[in-house]
Amino acid sequence: MVAAVTIEHLKKAYGSVQAVEDVSLTIPAGEIFGLLGPNGAGKTTTIRCLCTLATPDHGRLEVMGIPVLEQPRRVRQYLGYIAQEVALDKVLTGRELMALQADLYHLPKPIAQRRMEEMVSLLDLEEWADQKTGRYSGGIKKRLDLALGLLHQPEVLVLDEPTVGLDIESRSAVWSFLRQLRAAGTTVLITSHYLEEVDALADRVAIIDQGRVIASGRPTDLKDQLGGDLITLRLREFTTLAEAEQAQQQLRQLAVVQNVIINTAQGNSLNLVVERQVNALGTVQEAMAAAGLPVFGIAQSRPSLDDVYLAATGRTLMDAELAAVGQRDLKQEKKQAMKGG
């Protein structure tokens, strides 16, 4: 396995906020790698450090074997960076912005000219390339942004939340485009807080929470590591913790049950990992009846990445997201990000 990107023990604080606590990643060449986590987990800070937009406090980063901190200019030749929010100059046309981008990467004129035409047809921008970008819709802007990021044919393309704010059609277009890129040999790193996005795209994933990697590997392996199928059990509409703990005791004694977690964020419902292909549902229901405990709802499912996250943190991504929204000072974060340094 050839590593396109290596990050070792990255640490980065903005003022008193420890944005990244300890992140280590290895991204194999030619794969799509997903950095999954709730808002505020440290995903953007990690890739800002990788793309030389922020200086880490600690850690080692390499792109295509080249150390990022020591040789930032060489690393920049290999990287393409697509920010979460598309920033275009609305007075310029798409083609003028592409010409600017080509010159920033010092492409020779004839090559740049051909490459621009290729990008225009590849991203279906013929109709728009000579219009000012101020007239573009969100989807067209994203397509131009992709064209700009790919103009110098980067070995590693980094995309921060590539489909946030896009309509469903544009989202699936971006997904299939990233798959085409992978097929052509480009390494792709995306951050996302959409489980479905990472599940659908990524060959490998690192789940990041509060500045730390809490799980990483192939999505199927991560899910298999959970052991088996999942059962979500709700005793009552609003279960008390005491009653949930009582049920937990009972369930732990069952042979088919491998693990039981109380999901406090979801009204003390119980999340069980059970052996696959047994009638676990029936067994659990019988055990509850025998212990004199009620069953309000019960469902069995294959594990998802959310369950991987839940098993590691005791809360779902959605809950983490909601909690983060209340805690964050977005204005302050934007200021910090702008300062860089």
Binding site: Y81, D89, L104, R114, R179, A200, P219, K335, M338
Partner: protein
């Protein structure tokens, strides 16, 4: 999910050209070559400058206002002191002639001081990140592009002021004198643009930048010799004016307006501490410009990286 099959999206064209072999070959030839190339610096600087001129061409209002404003100054301010007895403003024939040099320098200074604003908006908007993630030969290309742009605007403004002054009876410097005027404007613009961009990277946002511009602009005008000669001022203000770089840009221009036989040794300014020849004024301006460029270097390297 490594098995998912690439499916061509409905609104994306054929994926025939994800790989450009010429580009790949060119990139391979660059690998390991981390050397600094002047051609790269020119290419990126030219591209950034071109962007600014395209913006100007499509939004010409800044240029139009930038030309009209100093002309209004010249006419209105000139008329304000029109009836001052002759001889009060040194050797100048009238106040209009005296004022021309001040307006030229003040206009160039104001334009350069504002150079950081568009870059600040690029920074806040995220557009600047395109420059920062690119393998620029040097981030000074951002400074030079801004300076080239502002310098061009300043030269157009200067030409308009020179022209109107001539019409109002101030005459014109001789050709070599005109060349000196342009040189002084360019050096001043480069230095002040560098400072303005330094502030752009040091300050948190455009509100703070505008505040700094606001409290810098007029005080520097009033503490220079733009509006009155230095011997008009109280002693303490003479000292302040002698430390103000604008004074060292204004006095040589004023001198070459009046003396076609000027030389680098001509004394153009009488500061409280010593008489200052024209050559020394140029030296002060060059020193100021060089100092500004050196001072902002750590900001360019760290704040943006």
């Amino acid at each position: 999910m490594g098995t998912s099959i690439p499916t061509p999206a409905s609104n994306l064209g054929g994926a025939s050209s994800l790989d450009n072999s010429d580009l790949r070959a060119w990139k391979a030839s660059q690998v390991g070559d981390g050397s600094w190339r002047l051609a790269d610096f020119f290419q990126e600087t030219l591209a950034m400058t071109r962007r600014l001129f395209i913006q100007l061409q499509r939004r010409p209002s800044t240029l139009i206002a930038g030309v009209i404003q100093p002309l209004i100054w010249l006419v209105l301010f000139g008329a304000l002191f029109q009836n001052v007895p002759a001889g009060l403003f040194g050797e100048s024939r009238n106040y209009g002639q005296f004022l021309g040099a001040g307006i030229i320098v003040f206009t160039a200074f104001g334009g350069a001081l504002n150079a950081g604003l568009p870059v600040m908006f690029d920074r806040e908007f995220g557009f600047l990140n395109r420059f920062l993630v690119a393998p620029l030969a040097s981030r000074y290309s951002i400074v030079v592009a801004s300076a080239l742009f502002i310098a061009t605007l300043s030269l157009i403004q200067t030409a308009a002021i020179l022209g109107l002054s001539a019409l109002l009876g101030a005459g014109l410097p001789n050709p070599l004198g005109l060349l000196l005027v342009l040189t002084i404007v360019l050096v001043l613009v480069l230095g002040v643009t560098a400072l303005s961009l330094g502030l752009t990277f040091a300050l948190p946002g455009h509100i703070e930048l505008i505040a700094v511009i606001f409290i810098t602009n007029l005080p520097l005008l009033f503490s220079s010799t733009a509006l009155v000669p230095i011997d008009f001022m109280p002693g303490w203000l003479q000292w302040v004016a002698s430390l103000n770089p604008l004074t060292y840009a204004i006095e040589p221009i004023r001198y070459v307006y009046l003396h076609s036989d000027w030389s680098l040794g001509s004394v153009v300014l009488q500061t409280p501490f010593s008489p200052v020849p024209l050559g020394v004024c140029l030296g002060v301006l060059l020193g100021f410009c060089g100092l500004a460029l050196v001072l902002i270097q750590p900001l360019l390297r760290q704040r943006m990286a």
